[in-house]
């Protein structure tokens, strides 16, 4: 187990180093001169040179990388070229908004997926199963930005029930916050719900065929008790893994969703940073995204072997 832990952590570190090199060189390949962006259009050659010298833009790329990586390890990702704010504080300001959005969408997804998946598995090959599978197929096929636009069209334009866009911090007005978050969270949760439902159904069907379920039935337990006390708990383990693997899709989805509903979160920050060629901001944001994805997957791997002792990697019984 310890060996597996070390091995898995070492691989994650190698991955993180590769990522940082890729991000750093990738950002350097973006066309456009950051010095010119900072200085504005009316700057002269001397002014540009001064900015380049100040931000170390003239140094060799490897030198710039080492300097940047050393600072990044201490949580210092430099300052945004456009706003001059530290990247870390900008991210710290935006991230909670996206985390709230992501948590809400995961809650919505689980609230839809688990009952639907369990129902589809228990009532296998009935109309319920067909309905759930059909809904799941639609869920993965619907482009989330179109779904968002359609929801705005219906609930905001036609019915006028919900505000179409914007963001209000939770502590200012919980109601206004939820009113503005519910549509984006639903949109972001749709695809996730579809994937999770399919997974819940499959693993539930597997579990229902297992010996210990037969034992539970044969010792006289009622169907309801077997399903709720024995089957659901065990069938949710693979669902946890899928949830972790979907973290990346959730981040991608947040970019689009925040764009449509004008939620000032992390996803919108990425798009803004890219469009304004804000080197340090793009670097920091992409690096943080990729690193958190690596860490989430590491945690999922570890939790997987902790949750189910049978699958402890290394093959020990």
């Amino acid at each position: 187990m310890v060996e597996f832990l070390i091995r898995r952590a070492a691989i994650s570190i190698v991955t993180l180093i590769v990522i940082s090199v890729v991000v750093f060189t990738g950002v350097r390949m973006i066309p456009g001169d950051p010095a010119r962006v900072m200085a504005g259009t009316d700057a002269d050659a001397a002014g540009l040179e001064e900015i380049r010298a100040k931000y170390g833009l003239n140094d060799p790329i490897p030198v710039q990388y080492v300097r940047w990586a050393a600072l990044a390890l201490q949580g210092d990702f430099g300052r945004s070229i456009r706003t001059r704010d530290p990247v870390s504080t900008t991210v710290a300001r935006k991230l909670p908004i996206t985390i709230e959005l992501a948590c809400l969408s995961v809650l919505i997804a689980l609230a839809i997926a688990i009952p639907a998946g369990v129902l589809a598995a228990v009532r296998r090959n009935t109309a319920w199963d067909l309905l759930a599978s059909g809904a799941s197929l639609c869920g993965v096929s619907v482009p989330n930005f179109w779904l968002g636009i359609m929801l705005i069209l219906f609930f905001s334009v036609r019915l006028g029930w919900l505000p179409a866009s914007g963001f209000v911090p939770f502590w200012e007005s919980p109601l206004a916050n939820v009113q503005r978050m519910v549509m984006p969270a639903f949109v972001l949760g749709t695809a996730l719900a579809a994937v999770l439902m399919r997974q819940t159904r499959n693993s539930m069907i597997n579990v229902l065929g297992a010996d210990y379920i037969r034992t539970a039935y044969s010792k006289g337990l009622a169907g309801r008790a077997v399903i709720f006390r024995h089957a659901i708990r065990n069938s949710l383990i693979p669902v946890v893994t899928i949830l972790g693997l979907q973290a990346g899709a959730l981040m991608s989805g947040a970019v689009v969703t925040e764009q449509i509903f004008v939620v000032p979160g992390f996803g919108r920050l990425i798009v803004e940073a890219v469009f304004t060629r804000d080197y340090p901001l793009v670097q920091g944001v992409v690096l943080i995204t990729a690193s958190s994805y690596v860490l989430i997957n590491l945690l999922v791997d570890l939790s997987y072997s902790l949750l189910d002792p049978r699958i402890r990697i290394g093959g020990r019984p």
């Binding site: 691989i11 190698v14 991955t15 590769v18 990522i19 890729v22 990738g26 390949m29 973006i30 066309p31 197929l137 639609c138 993965v140 096929s141 619907v142 482009p143 930005f145 179109w146 636009i149 359609m150 705005i152 069209l153 334009v157 179409a164 990346g248 899709a249 981040m251 991608s252 989805g253 970019v255 689009v256 764009q259 449509i260 990425i270 798009v271 890219v274 793009v282 992409v286 995204t289 990729a290 690193s291 994805y293 690596v294």
Partner: protein
């Protein structure tokens, strides 16, 4: 299509029962058809995908209206006989634009996945076949590659290369590549251990021949099934990139750019948002349903 590919029972059966083996292709085909017809939804999905392919290929002959022709007297008109899907903010015919948009989506969806296959399959093949240090290097790079959420990687690549349909296609293709590397490698690891591969090796077949003649044909159906999963994802990704302004540039009609334009006129011209999104939805749904049927037909053990 060779229905034997998925269920190829290598070597032994042919040697023992030559007569039965000779009959197999026709019988396999019939069995396959029966299996397909048991899933009518998949047949419908497949037909719709074919219709979209026909629309994409035949756009100039199917719609007579120029999708880029503006008409200032016909701005944001609701659907009518003259314009069944209505007109957009520049008075262009939405029907013509949706039909032409299928061309962009198909192009992006199919070519990006072909690129992912062209890069990912050889890498996965080599990594899985030779294993060792090479495998470690390829897989660590793949891990890093996969750590970038798909869309964020595509956005980053398009930013570097500049927004255009070709670059969006390349970016989506490169985003889908690591999945192919992983899948191919896994399949190769399993296949290379099979007796018939070992047998061919014992007969003196070289690495290249083993990979091309014995391993690749046997993993082909799984790769094909993955493509039916990946193409709809790529189609949506192209629409998203175009929606964000990082894909197809105006005035070329694309479903993503049309949705972007529609966002500003939700109150006055909601039909501008209906059709392009519905087209994406129907096409990806059909791809997924047809893909389920194909998976059933080819029946690779991994799914």
């Amino acid at each position: 299509m060779n229905p034997g590919v998925g269920s190829a029972d290598p070597g032994t059966a042919t040697a023992v029962l030559p007569a039965a083996a000779a009959l197999e292709p026709a019988a396999g085909l019939r069995r396959g058809w029966r299996r397909v017809l048991r899933r009518p939804a998949s047949v419908v999905g497949g037909v719709i995908v074919i219709v979209f392919v026909a629309l994409a290929l035949g756009a100039p002959w199917i719609v007579r209206t120029d999708p880029t022709a503006t008409d200032w007297s016909q701005i944001r008109k609701a659907p009518s006989v003259a314009h069944p899907f209505g007109t957009d903010d520049l008075g262009r015919d939405m029907l013509a634009r949706v039909v032409w948009g299928s061309r962009v989506s198909m192009q992006a969806g199919v070519f990006s996945i072909l690129l992912a296959i062209a890069v990912g399959v050889p890498l996965g093949l080599v990594a899985g076949y030779y294993r060792g240090a090479l495998d470690q290097v390829v897989m660590r790079l793949t891990d890093a590659w996969l750590a970038f959420p798909f869309l964020i990687l595509a956005i980053g690549l398009v930013t570097i290369m500049g927004p255009s349909l070709t670059n969006a296609t390349i970016a989506i293709g490169l985003g889908a590549t690591p999945t192919y590397i992983r899948l191919t490698r896994g399949l190769v690891l399993a296949t290379a251990a099979e007796d018939y591969v070992q047998g061919a090796r014992a007969l003196g077949a070289r690495d290249l021949r083993l990979m091309a003649r014995h391993i690749l044909p046997n993993i082909f159906s799984s790769l094909l099934v993955q493509a039916t999963v990946a193409i709809p994802i790529a189609i949506i990704a192209e629409a998203v990139l175009s929606f964000l302004g990082l894909g197809v540039q105006p005035p070329t009609p694309s479903w993503g750019t049309m949705l972007n334009a529609a966002q500003q006129f939700l109150e006055s011209a909601p039909w501008m948002a209906w059709w392009p999104g519905l087209a994406i939805f129907v096409l990806t749904l059909s791809f997924n349903v047809a893909g389920d049927g194909l998976r059933d037909l080819l029946d690779p053990k991994d799914y």
